[in-house]
Symmetry: C2
Subunit: 334 residues, 2 copies
DNA sequence: CAAGTCAACTGTATCGTTACAGATTTTGAC
DNA sequence: GTCAAAATCTGTAACGATACAGTTGACTTG
């Protein structure tokens, strides 16, 4: 019973065509040691000829291997803009492998643990990538406890070794202070990430180290952070610029926030480069085009995607987590 | 042989717990008519209690249903920025269903048919969503021929009925011309999409209809289109602004392009709103913040994602394609 | 009360793959 | 020439689900 020619070929098809057993074909394609060299060659040839792809459901059912990496994504528009270049980086790496990329979303109103639990409980993926990492991130704790492969965009403070990729936000803020001081600025304001995210601490400590080393002072700006709406940031910035001890230097922890800060500064009747200098972390080109006065240090999200995808796959293959931790550094744009 | 308590429950687990047969449990959970009401209730209760999720590999192997929608994505950075809000819209809809979203990428250097063929040949998904639709799109032709469910972001000219969602680019360009003429502009330049995409024709014909109806003339701008780099667009725009018959009104087919046009206009020493007015299609807020003089008509990509996801699922469920074609309209921003 | 009807339930085979435990043939040693 | 070891190859069962073809027992019906 040869399977019809226009149906998807299976191991059975190849077994029939070569006159071998199904098991032999399976093992030949896996390059198993107990199959003859010539047989392997024949099987590979026929498989290529008929365009054989192993049936994912069959493999998954038998072995439990899904060949899926799940990217867990917050659906808030503000974050998705940042994470989309990451999708490109992840896809670039996965394209060279058998893995598929599945987007597992969650909304701000729901528990961020939900998608992780879903993947763990249903076995929906072999590995997971998460963002918006917290110092005591419960998602990390849960996946470590279950010994499930994952990578985080950002570090944790749990005393547990897991794969991560992080941008050096300490250095970013430190360099940013330096650049502002070099331009004669001394009173510096920082638009920081929300306090519960790990990189808040990194950015703050780089900021404070910079203030000490370069002899500048901090202008408090604590009513808003990068999770606030651009409109809120704009208003808060204008207020800060009109206050008695207004800053003459501003650091923005993201490109989106920088746009709002620029608008706030100009609302206050001030002019960039003349009255105030600004350093921003930047992922897209827009700000660079419209306000070239803003000094931008680039964070490469695409690279982050590539690193994380490679790390998760290596972790799945058993490589120790400590070898899968990478850091990238701010690059001055232009 | 009761399965261990901390393993994933299967139909067998529930069958053992209820004392029923596996088949009965399966059919009870599907609400089949030949199962008693009380039995169904008991089965549902136990299933919920143990947190039963059907094993996707089992279902997929037996039925061929993957419960996957594949979003086919070009990995070029310029496009991914636009498509990312679409991912949000798609996810919102899929979250209420059993479907997972898989990203199937392709690069500009490879054949756009490749990912479609891959899905078709491997049965990787139950439905597909594609963008960058062409009038005689070979991907559409192929999927129609194979009777495979899909939705397109953008229309085709193949004379075949398939689900789509499109933005009314004809109306966008027409309205844009009107708004420019209302501001006293008469010599209008259009930054259009690449000619091989369907919406190029829509935008052009709306543009030309507007010129006729409102009595304006066109300034040729054919050396670049929206697929060119921002740097190229900027340079071309500056040149156009310095040429003898320079435009006094500009229309941009995307928000990204508008940023480059603004830069080009300013490179030429001209000022928005004073020397030139501009209407742009806009998906993010950045331009609005930094150049409020630009008139923006919004295209809602998130809505597009929602509409397409719903359409593809409905198509999978057998609804006629002609009922799954939607259009959305430009909205004046602020 | 025999026979037919119906409701409720169940066993078997199967999807495509791989783990495992053979089976068969070849080779080599003495 | 015999026998063990090595080299190749293969059948069966199982992963979890569902289609399909029953089975069982209670209830009508004439």
């Amino acid at each position: 019973m040869p399977s019809s020619l226009n149906e998807r070929p299976t191991l059975k098809t190849i077994a029939f065509m070569t006159g071998l057993g199904i098991t032999t074909v399976s093992r030949a394609l896996k390059d198993a040691p107990d199959i003859g060299a010539e047989t392997k060659e024949r099987v590979r040839l026929v498989a290529a000829q008929v365009g054989y792809h192993p049936n994912r459901a069959g493999v998954r059912l038998r072995t439990g291997k899904t060949n899926v990496i799940s990217l867990i994504l917050s659906l808030e528009e503000e974050f998705i803009g940042l994470t989309s270049p990451m999708v490109v980086g992840i896809s670039e790496v996965l394209a060279t492998t058998q893995y598929h990329l599945v987007i597992t979303p969650y909304s701000a109103r729901s528990d961020p643990l939900d998608p992780v639990r879903y993947v763990l409980d249903t076995g929906a993926a072999d590995g997971v990538i998460i963002s918006r990492t917290e110092p005591k991130d419960p998602r990390v704790a849960l996946m470590m406890e279950r010994n499930f492969p994952f990578g985080t965009h950002g570090r944790t403070e749990l005393g547990l070794d897991h794969p991560y990729h992080d941008f050096d936000n300490e250095r970013f803020a430190y360099d940013a202070v330096r650049m502002l001081v070099e331009r004669g600025r001394r009173r510096i304001m920082l638009l920081h990430p929300p306090p519960f995210l790990t990189y808040h601490m990194h950015m703050r400590s780089g900021f404070e180290r910079g203030l000490r080393d370069f002899g500048a002072t901090s202008v408090p700006f604590n009513k808003v952070d990068l999770d606030n709406s651009l409109a809120d940031i704009r208003v808060a910035c204008e207020a800060a610029m009109l206050a008695p001890d207004a800053p003459d230097g501003v650091i923005s922890g993201s490109g989106g926030g920088a746009v709002a800060l620029v608008a706030g500064i100009e609302d206050a009747g001030l002019k960039l480069a003349r009255d105030v200098d600004m350093v921003s972390k930047q992922s897209n080109d827009f700000l660079q085009w419209l306000r070239p006065e803003v000094i931008t240090l680039r964070e490469d999200f695409r690279l982050a995607g590539r690193e994380l995808a490679k790390a998760v796959i290596a972790r799945i293959e058993g490589q120790p987590a400590t070898e899968l931790q990478t850091l990238s550094f701010p690059v001055l744009q232009n």
